[in-house]
């Protein structure tokens, strides 16, 4: 690979095994005597479990056991928790209903597990699961979150009257109301953020292995954060104390947030392995993934933007109802609150903001963080209303945004966040230029001559990555700290292992983290390996989500590298009889400045381990660890512009071009960043045009396969035009911001703004299916005719 430091477009080290089929995923793990789990799931959205009859199943070939929720509860296994406490505006804690990994009494969404079969093969387990007879007594179900809050609606949990989990406020309501009194113009709109299914390429899986002699559990699982999983499994679910539980997340094929949480199935495998006395494997099938992976988004909001006579924003008021599904998933409460409403200032200088959020139980799959987690919902709301307000007051969308941009930093918003750095004009200028905004009118006219409707729409997003600092999030209700850890182990031969608490499930850490070492010591990236995803190998760490691996995880590596460098220089200075301050590291060698004296990195490492000649009092070895707790979030930002062409005859939207101008701070590997942006944009375009998790009125998920849930494909998206502009993040040693979610956060409003511009109708909701667009085209034409 060679020496490839910061900024190199290094090819991904991990891709050799991924693209040659040599990756090792959880389902590749086979243990002796292993049994297979299959879950018995409710076909009803809301029902009493009257009885579970496993007699027939137990007599089927290969069946070892059928376990139910009563046994789980009797064994003292804890309920599934939500790890972020939110208090309602009246001070009361959130109303959390009990969630048991196998439900013995009342099922609350289709697909909820009531029993598990353990058998010798996967086929036998699934056949036997089909033979378990469960008698249900159906209860009325509610799917719509607004309907769920009404008096007389079906009640899911006794703890939550009217299915209300919490009623939470942020911002200064009185100031907002006063500003609205003074407003010269008010733009109002309703915004619905559609429910999505995460659809990681690799479905969830678990292999649990209990060693009776050692009283020790091992869990191989598809986790984005194995240490957090071990902590929760130990501290809350009573599976085993932490030192008796090893969690390994091997190669993981995509997460997007959905593999942060500790789900019932993984926990049941651990419990079942001990109960049946053999290793237990479970691999989620695609339908189970649709039914049980935490869904994303599902917000309904009313927003009002107040402008003064000069079209400056003076206040922003938002009311949001967030559907959290049937149970509170691990971070479900933080997504529509501190990860959402705190971003409602966007890139704009807004003096007063108030947001009320009501979260609601419904008979649907639980909802939690999904790529962007709250920030896509905020960005969609802000950028839709910005575009709408610009149209209403007759300003160009770019000019209206510019009029309201924040231009001095740090900038304290009225909703907690303090933006540290950014240059919003720069990314807007870059995007306008890249898409040839000035030439749009001519392109629109040309399209009209062919009977097509051209539209252009933009989105100036801001997001918050690397959620931190720990003390701050703790004060807001988080149950965990959000620092990261690293250990840099220099081997006696000078190769290096970096142990990181971050976890790679597609992000390319094995490459980018190695580039840090290559940069620092001038070593070949092949001399570096990145170790992650095993609680027995790696020190406690917080995992990967919220675009935190760079800004937080790599910062911990940098701190550890500082210590290694310092010690290596001391050893080199001692060996070469030079002053420590004169030692320079260059090209894999430690040199004495101004002389030809030098030692290779390998020689210094070996000296550290032979310990024959170390400075007085120095410990042998060359291995250092560090924890890094950031002082603030990072704030990536940028402008996305989308140009579409709508066929009014069919309602079909074609994305003609899409430009992205991002500010991610400093970039380690531009190729990997581009890959992240491409993926994010495609997911965002998927949300805007295609994807929607739909329930019927009885709570049946009717989009539970790829026949009915439409994922974006290569021919749905254009060849993206990307550029980056750098303002360094002052909050971390590398000046990085994070790029993993920006594409999914910023793109949906750009697409919808473009389509509404094309069809001259603002009533569009996501996904903009051809049918909906066609209907709106008919309405627009009718209005034009009148």
């Amino acid at each position: 690979m060679g020496v490839e430091g910061i900024g190199a477009r290094a090819l991904r080290k991990e891709d050799k095994r991924f693209i040659t089929g040599k990756g090792r995923y959880t389902d590749d793990i086979v243990l002796p005597r292993m049994g297979y789990a299959a879950f018995v799931r409710s076909p009803h959205a809301h029902a009493k479990v009257v009885s579970i009859d496993a007699r027939a199943a137990l007599e089927m070939p290969g069946v070892d056991a059928v376990l139910t929720g009563d046994q789980l509860v009797a064994d003292g296994i804890g309920n599934i928790i939500c790890g972020w406490m939110i208090h309602s505006k009246d001070g009361s804690p959130m109303n959390m209903g009990a969630w048991r990994a196998l439900e013995p009494e009342i099922v609350r969404h289709v697909g909820q597990a009531v029993a598990v079969v353990i058998a010798d093969s996967q086929g036998e387990a699934k056949d036997a699961a089909d033979a378990v007879v469960v008698e249900y007594e159906e209860l009325p179900a509610v799917v719509d979150p607004i309907a769920a809050m009404a008096d007389g609606a079906p009640q899911l949990h006794p703890e939550a009257a009217n299915n209300l989990i919490f009623d939470w406020d942020i911002g200064d309501e009185a100031a907002v109301n006063a500003a609205f009194e003074q407003a010269a113009h008010v733009t109002k709109m309703e915004v619905h953020n559609n429910r999505l299914v995460p659809n990681a390429m690799e479905p969830r899986a678990a292999v649990a292995d209990y060693n009776e002699a050692e009283e020790h559990h091992t869990l191989y699982t598809t986790s984005q954060n194995p240490h957090v999983a071990r902590l929760v499994l130990s501290a809350f679910y009573n599976i085993a104390p932490e030192h008796k539980l090893r969690v390994i997340a091997p190669d993981v094929g995509g997460g997007f947030g959905s593999k942060i949480y500790i789900y019932p199935e993984e926990m049941v495998c651990l419990w079942a392995s001990k109960r049946v006395g053999r290793p237990v494997k479970w691999v989620c099938d695609r339908t189970e993934a649709f039914l049980t992976d935490a869904h994303g988004r599902d917000h309904r909001s009313e927003a009002e933007l107040a402008l003064d006579a000069d079209n400056k924003i003076i206040a922003f008021r938002v009311k949001t109802v967030a559907n959290l599904g049937a149970y509170m998933s691990l971070f479900s409460s933080s997504v529509p609150t501190y990860l959402y409403a705190t971003l409602l200032s966007g890139q704009y200088d807004i003096p007063a903001i108030h947001c009320n959020v009501k979260t609601v139980y419904t008979n649907t799959t639980p909802v939690d963080a999904y790529r962007g987690a709250g920030r896509p919902e905020a960005t969609y709301l802000v950028e839709r209303i910005m575009e709408t307000a610009a149209r209403e007051v007759g300003l160009s969308p770019a000019d209206f945004r510019r009029k309201n941009f924040i231009r001095s930093f740090p900038h304290q918003t009225p909703v907690i966040m303090c933006y540290d750095a950014g240059d919003y004009d720069a990314t807007l200028d870059a995007a306008l230029k890249a898409i040839d905004y000035d030439g749009f009118a001519a392109r629109k006219a040309e399209a009209a001559s062919r009977g097509k409707l051209r539209g252009i729409g933009m989105s100036c997003y801001i997001e918050a990555c690397g959620i931190a600092p720990s003390a701050a999030v703790g004060s807001l209700g988080a149950g965990v700290g959000l620092w990261e850890s690293a250990e840099v182990r220099v081997n006696p031969v000078g190769t290096i292992e970096v142990l990181t608490g971050a976890h790679s499930h597609g992000q390319g850490h094995e490459t980018t983290f190695a580039q840090l070492i290559s940069e620092r010591f001038g070593l070949d990236t092949d001399a570096v390996s990145i170790v992650h995803g095993d609680t027995d190998k790696v020190q406690f760490g917080m995992g990967t989500y919220g675009s935190r691996s760079g800004a937080v995880g790599m910062s911990a590596v940098v701190k550890a590298l500082d210590k290694v460098e310092e010690k290596a220089k001391k050893i080199a200075a001692h060996l070469m009889e030079a002053a420590e301050g004169d030692i320079q590291i260059e090209g894999g060698e430690l040199k004495v400045a101004g002389t030809d004296k030098k030692l290779t990195f390998t020689e210094v490492a070996l000296a550290a381990y032979t310990a024959h000649n170390l400075p007085e009092g120095m410990e042998p070895g060359l291995k250092e660890g560090a924890f890094y707790d950031p002082t603030n979030f990072t704030f990536p930002s940028g402008t996305y512009i989308c140009e579409v062409e709508v066929d009014p005859e069919t309602g079909k939207t074609a994305i003609i071009s899409f430009v992205a101008a991002d500010d991610f701070g400093n970039i380690i590997n531009p190729m990997i960043v581009e890959g992240q942006v491409h993926g994010g944009l495609t997911q965002g375009i998927g949300q805007a045009l295609l994807e929607n998790a739909a329930y019927d009125e009885n709570g049946q998920l009717i989009t539970a396969s790829y026949m009915d849930y439409c994922m974006p494909r290569a021919d749905d998206v254009p060849s993206y035009q990307l550029s980056t502009h750098v303002t360094e993040c002052p909050g971390n040693p590398l000046g990085m911001k994070g790029c993993g979610e920006a594409g999914a956060i910023g793109s949906p409003p750009a697409v919808i703004n473009a389509i509404t511009d094309a069809i001259n109708n603002n009533d569009l909701t996501m996904p903009a299916t051809p049918e909906q667009v066609w209907q709106l085209c008919q309405g627009s034409m009718k209005m034009a005719a009148e």
């Binding site: 009803h44 089909d130 007879v133 469960v134 009915d708 299916t769």
Partner: protein, 231 residues
């Protein structure tokens, strides 16, 4: 799913009513019906083998009769359980009106499917149920009226939110079999759906759900609706 329709049967109302209560006639008219037994004056069980596309499967269903107002109207409700495979429920208000020597049968039916049946087959239910209803009434008219000229005019009221394009095209399509209808609907909507269909068919070959069970369950949904339409 909501469905309604009207059939003109060239026979007196009394004859139609009796036929609708005659297990032998029903057995002969229900597509794929192997057995049909009255267990009480208002209850019956049926075993039906259905072939939809490449898949053949056998289902059992139970139907009860309510609000009987002979020979004019009744409400019938049917339910079929498939364990973890899901369930199908249907009910229909059926009305017989005299029109000279002929009888006009009208119905409004509601069907609900749940579990795997809803997750994988919901968009096929409408077209399949309609096709089976038409097949049933075609035969029934032939048996009872001695002719197959019974005009069919049924209108389907679709659920929103389910790949409407595909649905409406498959509904409009008087397809020979459901798979072909799906295939053509998908072509018309978007080629991207094509791969999904192939995947489903690939899964069907492997034999787990997505396989015969799904296609069979789709048939069950249709059967329940059909059962609900008669007695």
């Amino acid at each position: 799913m909501d469905m309604s329709g009207e059939y003109r049967i060239p026979a007196p109302r009394e004859t139609v009513w009796e036929a609708l209560n005659d297990p032998d006639i029903l057995r002969e008219c229900i597509p794929g019906c192997e057995s049909l037994e009255m267990t009480s004056p208002t209850e019956m069980t049926a075993a039906v083998t259905s072939k939809i596309g490449p898949v053949k499967a056998k289902f059992k269903g139970a139907v009860t009769l309510e609000n009987i107002n002979a020979p004019e109207s009744y409400t019938i409700a049917g339910e079929g359980k498939g364990g973890v495979a899901g369930f199908a429920k249907g009910s229909a208000d059926v009305h017989l009106a005299e029109d000279g020597a002929e009888t006009v049968l009208t119905y409004t039916a509601k069907a609900q499917v749940g579990g795997k049946l809803a997750q994988l087959g919901s968009r096929l239910i409408d077209s399949t149920a309609k096709k089976m209803a038409d097949e049933f009434f075609g035969k029934f008219t032939e048996k009872v009226g001695g002719t197959s000229q019974g005009a069919s005019a049924s209108a389907d009221d679709l659920d929103a939110g389910v790949v409407e394009e595909a649905k409406s095209i498959s509904l409009d399509h008087a397809a020979e079999d459901a798979v072909k209808a799906v295939s053509e609907a998908e072509h018309a909507v978007e080629e991207r759906l094509h791969q999904a269909e192939e995947n489903l068919e690939a899964a069907a070959v492997k034999g787990r759900f997505g396989g015969p069970m799904v296609w069979g369950l789709i048939a069950l949904g249709a059967v329940i609706v059909v059962l609900a339409l008669l007695n």
